[in-house]
Amino acid sequence: MNPNARATYTGLVTVLASDLADVTSSDASLRRFLHGLPGVDQVGAQARATALGTRSIKTTAKAWAIDAAISMVDLTTLEGADTPGKVRTLCAKAIRPDSGGPPADEGVAGRGRPPSVAAVCVYPDLVETAVAALRGSRVGVASVATAFPSGRASLPTKLHDVRDAVAAGASEIDMVIDRGAFLAGRYQQVFDEIVATRQACGEAHLKVILETGELVTLDNVRRASWLALLAGGDFIKTSTGKVTPASTPPVALVMLEAVRDFYGLSGEARGVKLAGGIRTGKDAIKYLVMVNEVAGDRWLDPHLFRFGASSLLNDLLLQRHKLATGAYDGPDYVTVD
């Protein structure tokens, strides 16, 4: 237990310490808890997120941030047109994002070969292909599941989806919450589904996609974040990437505050994954600044922070070359996968 916890959220601590099961035992108690969280002032959150975006990250700091960002990427392909060939190409890139250069110099960020990404993220039927392609590497295999992206299926169907992916070797499961149930106030249902998915995951890590673009308000984002954390999600994740807006700075801010405060209460550090719409290294660095200053540098780690992205990786590589050589490469100097 964090020594500051008692004073961090005095009211909540009492609840948690007395009986966590009580909080999550019914719609009414969950509602009381979630609606008892401090509100989020949208204008203020936006202002704070914008202010963090004005940090000037240069030279050595930029080199560190680019390599850190690469190591936090969940390289993603979630298309109807995905094929085993496409996934194998992606996996090769995930292990070794940059073809040239000597092996990475561990001591110096930005030099040598860039790090591998954190994971590859695919649909359940392609997990097997990805697992085979990534064997022997440190890159994980994440699979979306639970009737991704809409989540509109019965719970048994969703859980079957999860078990399929886990059986095929996925080390991480990205589930979607039932936004309809959340917006209708059926918090218990959302909670129970996450708990059931958590169990179906077995050893696999669970990322809970809130689809914040459909939750709309930052108050909802905060409540959904806590709901997912209470239900045992290892990560909370912004979006499927199929809904606009996806990841935005204020949403990331509120979710980072949630994991920070959850840690303050429980002593358990849970992760955040931002997905959708992050395409430039510049944006990624702004988010790392936010992670650093809002949650703290403990979260600057692929175990606790991820970017779900596809085109972001190439921009990070271009920025990395630029930093090392002083000149921008053309788009043909990074691979199209």
Binding site: T8, Y9, P38, V43, G44, A47, T54, R55, S56, K62
Partner: protein, 480 residues
């Protein structure tokens, strides 16, 4: 060690194009003043930046004569439309030279470059743009069909927002057809003198704006001219102590007066506040510009039921503030403007401890040279402590608690000042009820230290009188 240390990101000092010496601007000319030549220093490293030739008594007379000639002559006869064109030109020139002005401001004042870049200079330009728009619409401003200018405005401004305060003073005065004799603060004359260059390049007729760098004696000379009837209006922003002296000097004379003085604002946080944003608002309220802000939220009034939780969050947030070189783009808290001001902050902070309050400062390494003070807060503060009553004008927050809205109002209003206040609650009706009862010129709801040229600003009680900004700000420069 930090995982992600930010590399230094210094703004270039060359951008300021500092000259070795600066002169007063009188009757459309830069010329040596009859006062002393003094060095203005960079408070961040105590090194001299440039020599400034200060104005003397004779310069005040010359400036007043030139201002009178312009008021009675070309400028006074100009149509509002034409005056507006000059103001638009100045506004654009400030925006075009924004980066240069930001660096000048940071070097001379010590404030972080991100604040001068993102707040001071854009707002200064915005004030000129805003009042430029009023110049040809004065008959519709609600002060009668044809309001007249007062004549000459003597304007004395402080060092905390040197260029912005010059803009707050000059823009409405010119929009309404007055002429100006302005004295920037002794420790921060440079940006006003760069503004004088902009005014000269805008081809404003000679004498319309005169800028006289100098110390208190020049301020006193300008006030004396007003008492003698040579200047028609004094606008002063600064300490309550000096404001009282000025008001005494002008009592019984026809000279008009507006005063914008000190403050000891209450920032009131209710238990239903958006706490994470309240923490940001508290930080903006008291650590913005090193707390050297007359409307700073220097008293935090927090409802007892959330006090512990809020203070933990606040301390955690203060620990992330980056204190140091104001020219670094990542610096959040820069240098205190002068040794004298730093001494005053130290003295009052020491009194806080001596009177029994508990002091906490963010852990940070302060630069060895220059005038720096760590972001500090006091808990266990009573209403009777000096740190709860006197304006510290530094990055020092006094935390007090309350139990009910009535108690919050009583404590917030229990000060000789009344410049600003903040209310944090998610309950709209409570915001309105608090705003009605708080005796403060500005009440911010779920935000703090937000400024806009369209919004009037000014105080109650010992915080002064008269409004600057908005339509209301025109009145201080109009006879009607």
């Amino acid at each position: 060690m930090a995982k992600f240390p930010y590399a230094p990101a210094p703004e270039s000092r060359d951008v300021a194009r500092l000259k070795p010496s600066y002169q007063p601007y009188i009757n459309g000319e830069f010329r040596d003043g009859t006062g002393e030549a003094v060095k203005t220093i960079n408070p961040a490293d105590e090194t001299p930046l440039a020599e400034v030739s200060e104005a003397g008594e004779k310069d005040v007379d010359d400036a007043v004569a030139a201002a009178r000639k312009a008021a009675d002559g070309s400028w006074g006869r100009l149509s509002g439309t034409e005056r507006g064109k000059y103001l638009f030109r100045i506004a654009r020139a400030i925006a075009e030279r924004a980066r240069e002005l930001a660096v000048v401001e940071t070097l001379d004042n010590g404030k972080p470059i991100k604040e001068s870049r993102d707040v001071d200079i854009p707002l200064a330009s915005a004030h000129f743009f805003y009042y430029a728009g009023w110049a040809d619409k004065l008959g519709y401003a609600g002060f009668g069909p044809s309001p007249r200018p007062l004549g000459i405005a003597g304007q004395i401004i402080p060092w905390n927002f040197p260029l912005l305060m010059a803009a707050w003073k000059i823009a409405p005065a010119l929009a309404t057809g007055n002429t100006v004799v302005l004295k920037p603060a002794e420790t921060t004359p440079l940006s006003a003198l760069v503004l004088a260059e902009i005014i000269a390049e805008a081809d404003l007729p000679p004498g319309v704006v005169n800028i006289l760098p100098g110390g208190p004696s020049i301020g006193a000379a300008i006030v004396d001219r007003a008492a003698d009837g040579a200047i028609d209006k004094i606008a002063f922003t600064g300490s309550t102590e000096v404001g009282k002296i000025i008001q005494r000097s002008l009592a019984g004379t026809p000279a008009r007066l507006s005063l914008e003085l000190g403050g000891k604002a209450a920032n009131i946080v209710f238990d239903d506040a958006p706490l994470d944003q309240a923490v940001e608002g508290i930080v903006n309220g008291i650590y913005f510009n090193q707390g050297q802000v007359c409307c700073a939220g220097s008293r935090l009034l927090v409802q007892e039921s959330v006090a512990d939780e809020l203070i933990v969050s606040l301390k955690r947030r203060l620990s992330t503030l980056r204190v140091g070189d104001p020219m670094d783009k990542n610096t959040d808290v820069g240098a205190i403007n002068s040794a004298a001001q730093l001494a005053k902050i130290n003295e009052l902070s020491d009194s806080g401890e001596a009177e029994g309050a508990t002091r906490w400062s963010a852990e940070c390494t302060l630069p060895e040279r220059g005038y720096f003070f760590p972001p500090t807060l006091f808990t266990d503060v009573s209403q009777s402590h000096r740190i709860a009553r006197e304006e510290i004008f530094g990055p020092v927050l006094s935390v007090l608690t309350f139990r009910t809205p009535d108690e919050a109002i009583d404590k917030a209003n229990n000060t000789p000042y009344g410049l600003s206040a903040g209310v944090w609650t998610e309950k709209g009706s409570r915001i309105l009820s608090m705003a009605n009862q708080l005796r403060a010129g500005v009440v911010w709801a779920n935000t703090f230290n937000r400024f806009d040229p369209t919004s009037p600003f000014g105080g109650y009680k010992e915080s002064g009188f008269g409004r600057e900004g908005g339509r209301h700000g025109l009145e201080a420069y109009l006879a009607h």
